[in-house]
């Protein structure tokens, strides 16, 4: 199954309940008050948030389009269109740090990412910087084995930054291509935990001044408006370079990513559409919105 198919498959549910609905409403309508009210309900019910929804509706009004449906698509694509390629450095290793609140899917995404790089023939090192949560190290180890990556870990309770240091050094000395660091889940309002994350970055920089090249914030598609605050705080403290939106295989629409893109301009780099090794897809705004909006005619059964 190609990316497009898979993405569509993963997003099938949301398309049915969300954009399918929009399609139905908008195809035959211009942007009158009733239509606006319905778009508002649909966007808010998708976790886009009050502010971003108002912004989108304002945009629709400005464009004075006869085809509100087409225009909505355009507006959404525009919001989501940010350069979202990976910042791969000329000199290896390429260091990626995974961060996010508890249970969002960091560890699983580490495994999926490693598999993706392995597929490209790259040598991957995974560093187990979650030394806090029960059996987090064992969990990551299984993923490293599945993906065929080298696994660097210390004991439970060890210093997370020290693990990061070792993983990066290992990659340098063995000329590996990619280092993926899994970190412990933490709520962004816990200052001391956020400080630990900053420390990991500082320690890595001692070995590789430009690392980590990517700091990916993993956000559960179920997340409501708090996702915006997560993105703000994590960006402030560790300089988030991209979002991974996970669990899009459920009925959650992940609309908070639209609010984040609009408000903070952080690009979405990947989407998670399942619990398997291959269930990570690069995010392409056009395909994404296209996949959400297109094909509704066939699915309308």
């Amino acid at each position: 199954m190609g990316f497009f198919e898979k993405l569509k498959e993963g997003l099938r549910k949301s398309r049915e309940t969300f954009f399918n609905h929009i399609t139905k409403i908008l195809k035959s309508r211009r942007l009158d008050e009733d239509t606006k009210a319905e778009i508002e309900e649909l966007l808010i019910s998708a976790d886009v948030g009050v502010e971003a929804t108002e912004y989108i509706i304002k945009k629709l009004e400005e464009k004075k389009s006869e085809d509100a449906f087409g225009t909505l698509k355009e507006v959404l694509i525009e919001i989501l269109s940010k350069p979202n390629g990976l910042n791969i450095p000329v000199e290896k290793p390429f260091v990626i740090s995974m961060v996010g609140v508890n249970g969002s899917g960091k560890t699983t995404t580490c495994g999926k990412l490693a598999a993706m790089f392995r597929e490209e023939g790259k040598q991957v090192v995974i560093g187990a910087c979650d030394t806090f949560r029960a059996a987090a190290i064992d969990q990551l180890k299984v993923w490293a084995e599945r993906a065929g990556a080298t696994f660097i870990s210390h004991m439970e309770g060890a210093d997370a930054a020290a693990v990061a240091f070792d993983a990066v050094n290992h990659a340098i000395s063995k000329s590996k291509d990619v280092v993926i660091l899994d970190t412990a889940g933490r709520l962004h309002n816990k200052r001391h935990l956020m400080e630990e994350l900053a420390k990991i970055n500082r320690v890595i920089k001692k070995v590789l001044p430009n690392a980590p090249h990517e700091v990916l914030l993993v956000i559960d598609a179920v997340t409501g408006q708090n996702g915006l605050q997560q993105a703000k705080t994590f960006r402030e403290i560790v300089g988030v370079t991209g979002i991974v939106l996970t669990k899009l295989d459920g009925t959650a629409k992940g609309g908070i990513a639209i609010a984040i893109a609009k408000e903070l301009g952080i690009p979405i780099k990947f989407v998670g559409v399942g619990e398997g090794l291959e269930d990570l897809k690069p995010f392409n705004p056009h395909d994404f919105v296209e996949a959400l909006l297109a094909g509704d005619d066939n699915d309308n059964t």
């Binding site: 249970g103 987090a136 962004h188 200052r191 708090n226 459920g250």
Partner: protein, 434 residues
């Protein structure tokens, strides 16, 4: 932290204040702001709509109490309605022996952690809980529960580690006549639309006939909670919720949603990653939280539970006899530090980074001052005269003024403590902030 909601609400009420009556006209804007605020708090769109309609109806129908301004009256109505919808606080209903508690929910919401927290909670109440690890899907899920079980001294049944149904069968055999009275079952995270996985839960339910089926819900969840909570409830008839990650700064509007959609009670809330970070559900406190009034009481309760019971009783006695000394004060500060000042401040409305920094500084100062006292002075603060104050100030690198402030807040705290009943930890949260 809950600034947005609170500010907006107070704005709404400002709109109303100054006018003698709540009228069709002046209520509109207030209602609109409440609506927006609740949406920003992640309450489901449909629920919000109905909620504000009810509030409006009540506000227009009700006489404004003499003692209240219209805006106060309005906030009272909003709050009452919230509390009513949030429902009663309900304990676990464990009737069989052994009784089964089944944890279910979406991926990563906190089932495994909450299973251990419940076991720990029951154990502290004198029950004999046992855990069953029936998540055979997520890598190392069974190890995770084993680690947690070891931490709290509760055994974990893992069966063949491969087949959830078999593990459950195994567990049922093992716990029969074993003396364990509550069996807590951890299951794999799953999507409510995953037919096969939902059937697995139905099958397990049929086998164990659980007294409680608890759906874990992430406090940060948004609008889709309507779908997942509804489906889980329809398929399994859940008996209640565990709302997790309330130690974050999400407004927790999802609690209103799931209550409204299912009518099932919230039985516990998770307020951290550690096994003790667990509270019973108090609807009025959650309503306060949603309205931005903070969650102070719930925190006090946690402090009580975490403190050594014996020490607590001794202190309680002292409080009653007003024998609470600065030595005890110092002990308390240690406990506060153990718990984490940031946690305490998180529970206080409007606390900011600045508060955290100053509170940390202040606590350090208080400790330094008390450390510079002689044991006699600590146990008998009345003897601290001017010259002693100067000595203590010099010894602790503070000023006489600081000493005076401390002694004054100590006196206030002592007075406050007399008012609390025996055995309670009368935490004067404001008492130590000077």
């Amino acid at each position: 932290m809950f600034e947005g909601l609170r500010e907006k609400l107070s704005n709404a009420f400002r709109v109303l204040s100054g006018k003698g009556k709540i009228t069709e006209k002046n209520i509109e804007e207030a209602v609109q702001i409440v609506k927006t605020s609740l949406l920003a708090a992640d309450v489901s769109y449909k629920v919000v709509k109905e909620f504000v309609e009810n509030v409006k109806k009540r506000a227009l129908g009700e006489e404004v109490l003499k003692s209240l301004t219209p805006d106060q009256m309005f906030i009272k109505i909003v709050r009452d309605e919230l509390v009513r919808l949030l429902g009663e606080r309900e304990p676990l209903k464990l009737v069989h022996n052994p009784s089964y508690v089944m944890m279910v929910g979406l991926q990563g919401t906190g089932k495994t952690t909450s299973a251990a927290k419940i076991a720990n909670y029951l154990k502290k109440q004198g029950k004999r809980p046992i855990l069953v690890a029936a998540d055979t899907y997520r890598p190392a899920a069974i190890d995770q529960l084993e680690v947690l079980g070891r931490k709290i001294g509760v055994p974990v049944i893992t069966g063949d580690r491969r087949n959830a149904i078999k593990i459950v069968q195994d567990a049922m055999r093992q716990v029969k006549d074993s003396g364990y009275d509550v069996v807590i079952l951890d299951t794999a995270g799953r999507l409510h639309v995953d037919e096969e996985m939902m059937q697995e839960l139905e099958e397990i339910k049929k086998m164990i006939r659980p007294d409680e089926i608890l759906l874990t819900v992430d406090a940060m969840a948004g609008q889709d909670a309507v779908n997942s909570a509804r489906t889980f409830n329809e398929r399994l008839e859940v008996t209640g919720f565990v709302v997790t990650k309330l130690d974050g700064d999400s407004r927790g509007g999802v609690i209103l949603t799931i209550r409204y959609i299912t009518g099932k009670p919230v039985k516990f809330v998770g307020v951290g990653e550690k096994v003790d970070d667990f509270d019973e559900f108090y609807p009025d406190r959650i309503a306060n939280r949603i309205l931005g009034l903070g969650d102070v009481l719930s925190l006090i309760e946690r402090v009580e539970r975490e403190l050594d019971q014996e020490k607590l009783e001794k202190m309680g006695q002292k409080f009653i006899r007003a024998e609470f000394t600065l030595e005890d004060f110092r002990e308390q500060i240690k406990e506060i530090k153990k718990l984490g000042i940031d946690k305490i401040l998180e529970a206080l409305p409007g606390a900011s980074q600045v508060d955290l920094d100053t509170s940390e500084k202040e606590l350090r100062k208080i400790e330094a001052i008390i450390n510079s006292m002689t044991p006699q002075e600590r146990n008998n603060p009345e003897i601290i005269n001017a010259s002693r104050k100067r000595r203590i100030a010099a010894g602790s690198g503070t000023t006489v003024q600081d000493i005076n402030k401390l002694l004054k807040s100590y006196e206030e705290m002592k007075k406050l403590m007399k008012m609390f009943k025996k055995g309670k930890m009368p935490f004067g949260l404001k008492g130590f902030r000077f």
